[in-house]
């Protein structure tokens, strides 16, 4: 499957076979809403949006080596900002644009402040301190949302209307797909840029990047701001899809979901988040459907815990990382033969 490898590599070489494969895949993706039901269409829309949440986490975990336990603050923040603005100011396109602007500013400012506190240390203790400080930020966000019930409706959740053009589920599918493609291209450009290269160097060894002349804290801040904004954008799309926000979106569990998407898909691969999200969401959906067979399947988190442990133990590079590793092995074997 060298074609798939080419797609998954950072700089794909597109031959005729690749174009044919991409073309067929694109046709399939485009006609899915017309050959399946609304449930599948909505599930796929959800996967496309959450994949960006996962990718934004991969910028931090996979490309910069940062463990952010408060990342849901950006995603949930985006959803809440859109929801509150729609419910208070009206569900129009103008308000959506305003919500996008406010969310981006919110994410950039919160990420900057969070990073100023979280990136003070270095080495292993620095990683732990970063995880704890970001966890604290996330909890502050969640607690604030629960306290400000007047705006957020707390744990009960906030239901709201969305602009007319996003109300049709099939159209929403295409918007989510477009969002996934656009954000993937933007984030791919970012990780392949000189800044992305420095982030990978920081992930490898913070100190080495410093003696090459890079202010590693500044670069980590850039990564957090970009990841936060991408996550907030995904949060807005999630608001348009679900028309609902509750404090669950801001919990550490929500952050751990993003971590799960990247770990299952493969950290440091960017595209891995798409496969990871698809795997996790489809597995969750399938397990829930099995509830009729046995009650244990309603406890799908148990199975997820098991999947998480198995992936970490036996497939630490995730689906995409393992595939690329195996393909490299096959290629070498072929050359040797």
């Amino acid at each position: 499957m060298p074609m798939l490898t080419n797609i998954l590599r950072k700089k794909p070489a597109l031959g005729p076979g690749m174009w044919l494969f991409l073309g067929l895949f694109a046709v399939l993706i485009l006609i899915i809403p017309h050959i399946t039901g609304l449930t599948t269409t909505t599930l796929l829309s959800r996967i496309y949006i959450l994949a960006i949440f996962g990718m934004s986490y991969d910028i931090l975990r996979g490309y910069t080596g940062i463990i952010n336990l408060g990342h849901a603050l950006f995603f949930g923040g985006g959803t809440y900002i859109a929801g509150i603005m729609f419910s208070r100011m009206g569900a129009t396109l103008d308000i959506l644009l305003l919500a996008v602007l406010v969310s981006m500013v919110f994410a950039a400012i919160v990420a900057y402040i969070m990073g100023q506190f979280a990136f003070r240390g270095s080495g292993f203790t620095g990683v732990i301190a970063c995880a704890m400080i970001t966890l604290a930020f996330g909890e502050i966000g969640r607690h604030s949302a629960e306290t400000l019930r007047e705006y957020t409706q707390g744990a009960d959740g906030l239901t709201f209307r969305v602009p007319l053009m996003f109300q049709d589920r099939v159209m929403m599918y295409y918007y989510a797909l477009l969002f996934l493609i656009a954000m993937t291209l933007i984030l791919r450009q970012f990780v392949n840029s000189p800044t992305g290269r420095v982030l990978q160097a920081i992930r490898d060894n913070d100190q080495r990047a410093k003696f090459l002349g890079y202010d590693t804290k500044k670069y980590k801040l850039i990564a957090l701001v970009i990841a936060g904004m991408a996550s907030a954008a995904a949060g807005i799309m999630f608001a348009l899809l679900t028309r609902f926000a509750n404090t669950e979106l801001l919990t550490v569990q929500s952050t751990l979901n993003a971590l799960l998407y990247t770990i299952v898909g493969g950290t440091g691969t960017l595209y891995g988040a798409i496969f990871g999200t698809a795997f996790v969401q489809l597995a969750q959906n399938y397990l829930l459907e099995l509830r009729g067979i046995h009650e244990i399947f309603s406890r799908w988190l148990l199975f997820f815990g098991a999947i998480y442990v198995l992936v970490v133990l036996y497939m630490p590079k995730g689906l995409v990382g393992t595939y690329l590793q195996l393909e490299e092995k096959w290629r070498k074997r072929k050359i040797a033969a």
Binding site: Q200, R203, D204, K210, F211, D215
Partner: protein, 237 residues
């Protein structure tokens, strides 16, 4: 002539340990100075303190009239210091090309020309240009590490034990490389391999228990067996 690099009674700690307790040295433009001493004397810490990776707790570090003493490493390097660490310091997850690109503090024509020149000097790297650094041999990694320090127009290059862990034939290659660019660059070399130190160095400083205890020309040290025995614990054949 003013020294290009001057350390005046520099001290530093690693955790609770007082490693440098008064290192003073001067390096003049165009010369190669070798720092010698027994294991644990503070040679590597001296280089790391100059760079700022280990913060100086006392004394002064001056490079070309700029005070580096309290500067963070990312700024120190931008004053014109290239550093080749003992463990090569290259990024395994990046290709040779990306390792060189990341080392380039500017991407102007002058720097690109310098990179091309460096690749002519290190033909192995040119052949492995698109390969991941993790696939390079020890000698190639050392070459890449040195090449990275040469792509910028650095005033001075600090090199920490370039022969460590390398096969004799590779050590010879590294020595030849250092001799080639010694003509154009000011070098501070920490080296346990006395033969290499003698081949490359013009002057030496000996560090013992975190202090500079002796300095002179390499010829003086080579000719004085008593000095070698007393400070380095061996005598050259």
């Amino acid at each position: 002539m003013n020294p290009l690099l001057k350390l005046d009674n520099v001290s530093s700690f690693i955790g609770p340990f007082h490693i440098l307790q008064g290192v003073s040295l001067e390096v003049y433009p165009g010369e190669a100075v070798v720092i010698l001493g027994r294991n644990g004397a503070g040679k590597t810490t001296t280089l790391r303190t100059i760079i700022g990776l280990v913060p100086a707790s006392g004394g002064k570090i001056i490079l070309d009239n700029v005070d580096l003493t309290a500067m963070p490493p990312y700024n120190t390097v931008r004053q014109g210091i290239g550093f080749v660490p003992e463990d090569y310091g290259i990024f395994d997850a990046l290709t040779v090309e990306e390792n060189l690109l990341i080392a380039m503090l500017q991407e102007d024509q002058e720097t690109l020309d310098r990179r091309d020149h460096v690749l002519e000097l290190f033909t192995d790297l040119k052949e492995s240009y698109k390969r991941f650094a993790s696939t390079l041999s020890g000698g190639q990694r050392q070459m890449l590490s040195i090449a990275r320090a040469l792509v910028n127009d650095n005033k001075i290059i600090l090199i920490d034990e370039p022969s460590k862990g390398l096969a004799p034939i590779i050590v010879e290659k590294v020595r030849d490389t250092l001799l080639t660019f010694k003509q154009k660059k000011t070098i501070v070399l920490v080296e346990q391999n006395f033969e290499m130190a003698c081949a490359v160095g013009d002057r030496f400083y000996i560090i013992a228990e975190g202090q500079t205890v002796l300095d002179g020309t390499m010829k003086e040290l080579m000719d004085d067996e008593e000095l070698q025995r007393k400070h380095l614990g061996f005598v050259t054949a």
